[in-house]
Amino acid sequence: MDLYEYQGKELLREHGLQTLEGIVATSPQEAREAAEKIGGTVAVKAQVLTGGRGKAGGIKVVDSPEEAEEAAEQILGMDIKGHTVRRVLVEGGAEIESEMYLSIMVDRGEKKPLILFSTEGGVDIEEVAETNPDAIVRVYVDPLVGLLPYQVREVVFYSGLEGDAAKGVGKVLQNLYTAFKEADASLVEINPLVLTKGGDVLALDSKVTIDNSSLFRHPDVSEQQDVEAADPQEHRAQEADLQYVKLEGDVGILGNGAGLVMSTLDVVAQAGGEPANFCDVGGGADAEKIAEALDIVTSNEQVRSVLFNIFGGITRGDEVARGLLSALESSEIDLPIVVRLDGTNAEEGRRILEENTPENVHTEETMLDAARRAVELARDGGR
């Protein structure tokens, strides 16, 4: 789960990091008041869970409350890479001496936290990694031991920091590691981390991702989850405990098991189609859940055909078929639906479906045939 910049900064401040003074505004009027309160030059920054807001015009630096109001007027409601801006962060300024980069992430390969630090901040770190890899210091932390003083020294010395910057960054790193650990973050990134002319070290931006699996011990963070910002289908799926990701195509896809569904998407693409979504209904053949999943998938206006790919395992093919039939009975979907049923008792399952299903439901024996059929039907079909 990603946090908005202002939420991430709250987390950082809770752990002793310094940020600029900032106020969240949801309307131009609030932005004006915030600018008045902060005084002087302020930045009005779109709060969206995606990068590149600067290039998209989502950040404006202004000199008066009136201009702040105007800027907020323009930014609020803006669409940045499919994300609608619903809040802006109004922040004061700082006299910047230099910009740095600092992050801590879970490194999957090493299974340890990885610290990345660079004195080349404010730019895309992956670009720095390519053009000037020596400018990035990498330090792994042992998760049981925690961050050690010598590792902080490695970061500071290897990047050539001295004086206030060295002391400030060392302190920030220790606090950031505590924040990373206590918040169960999979990523905390500060870019840029700035040294001010006054010698302070400030987090000018923040990108924080909290491990979804840890939310049971962070109920406060779960509450922050911004339901408005989510896609309506994704939001419904989440409430129904379904794994659903919206895509751009027209073939709606459902299946049981994440790997099988991913594979189904690929096979549809190989057959020349475009998947409209990823939807894993999970194990079992609960008719109600299948009905809800079908309804979510088909409520996407772009969907022209549906492919339901099932592997009968512990839940046998015949049981799955009955569950699907019962789900179809309670729904009013008239889009073509291709059902591919494989695994234990698959033949029996297919027989049940063929004998009882409405006209718009087609069965296939193999994944490849089913994908081809669904793609064809999407091309022909429509509503």
């Binding site: 879970v106 999957r108 390969g109 299974k111 340890k112 936290p113 992956e126 042992d142 998760p143 049981l144 650990k181 169960d184 999979s186 491990d211 979804n212 699996s213 840890s214 049971f216 011990r217 794994q243 990701v245 895509l247 299946g255 049981n256 098991g257 994440a258 790997g259 099988l260 569904v261 991913m262 594979s263 998407l265 690929d266 096979v267 549809v268 693409a269 190989q270 998947p275 990823f278 894993d280 592997f311 009968g312 395992g313 512990i314 494989d342 695994g343 234990t344 193999t366 994944m367 490849l368």
Partner: protein, 292 residues
């Protein structure tokens, strides 16, 4: 032979009285697995389908000689359950639980460095050696004994591929679901090593997906160290960046983590890589010279 679990496996079920634990204990018993003990704190002294229940893993292992454990406890308690198994000297620990926090798993993985034990999972379907031992939630009726090893990050894709094999009368030594989480106890390489060392495994199927770079690491290992032929399949070519595709670990977040990058690395290492599950069965049949 089989890897990880076989007829000598004496299994202990952690969370045996929970919904999932109870259901799958019944299934594992039906498969002929030696389920010798269950653990549910506070229910020590009771039994479930004839399997004695203990309050602690240490006591259960001491009393029953259990040498492996399978974990069905809820996510908040899963890491504790793993530590308990490791500290009780169990050699193979299989954590089925989905949703274990990543920070918990970093600590567990670190601790594994001190222990002579193998952790499979979490968020995995388990391990099954056909007609020897079923320490999993996998449907045993699609399996048949034979000489193909299967290792996979995904449950249902494993079933799909095993089914493709069995339908072609190609049996399996062992199928290992290593789990779909970002941090898992045992990666592809460790399992590939076990299959390579197993004289009965004549071919290995490796099923990967988007996220991380474990497949690339495995490719390097296969090229450098393995004699046994390996057939690979990767899912997730159509996955968009930054979206979790069902499995917590299945997320494209940078060049290495894409299905393309993984497939290319595998092929570059000389590993035959199928484009769909059916093709996996076809390639294995070709390698083993099976016609049907």
């Amino acid at each position: 032979m089989a890897i990880l679990v076989d007829e000598n496996t004496r299994l202990l079920v952690q969370g045996i009285t929970g919904r999932e634990g109870a259901f799958h204990t019944g299934r594992m018993l039906q498969s002929g697995t030696h389920v010798v003990a269950g653990v549910t704190p506070g229910k020590g002294g009771q039994d479930y389908e004839g399997v004695p229940i203990f309050n602690t893993v240490e006591e259960a292992a001491r009393e029953t000689g259990a040498n492996a454990s399978v974990i069905f406890v809820p996510p908040p308690f899963a890491a504790d359950a793993i530590f308990e198994s490791l500290d009780s000297g169990l050699g193979t620990v299989c954590c089925i639980t989905e949703g274990v926090p990543v920070h918990d798993m970093m600590r567990v993985s670190d601790y594994l460095n001190m222990k002579n034990a193998t952790l499979i999972g979490p968020n995995c379907p388990g391990v099954l050696s056909p007609e020897k031992s079923n320490v999993s939630i996998m449907p045993d009726d699609i399996f048949t004994p034979g000489n193909v090893g299967v290792v996979s990050r995904s449950g249902t894709l494993t079933y799909q591929v095993v089914n493709e094999l069995t339908q072609r009368s190609i049996g399996q030594t062992t199928a290992v679901g290593i789990g779909g989480d970002p941090i898992i106890g045992t990666d592809f390489i460790e399992i590939l090593k076990l299959f390579e060392a197993d004289p009965d495994t004549g071919c290995v199927v490796m099923i990967g997906e988007i996220g991380g770079n474990a497949e690339q690491q495995a490719a390097e290992y296969v090229q450098a160290e393995m004699q046994t032929p390996v057939v690979a399949y990767i899912a997730g070519f159509t996955a968009p960046e930054g979206k979790t595709m069902g499995h917590a670990g299945a997320i494209v977040s940078g060049g290495e983590s894409t299905a393309e990058a993984k497939s290319q690395a595998l092929e570059k290492a000389g590993i035959r890589t199928a484009t769909n599950p059916t093709e996996v069965g076809e390639i294995v049949a070709e390698i083993l010279g099976v016609s049907f």
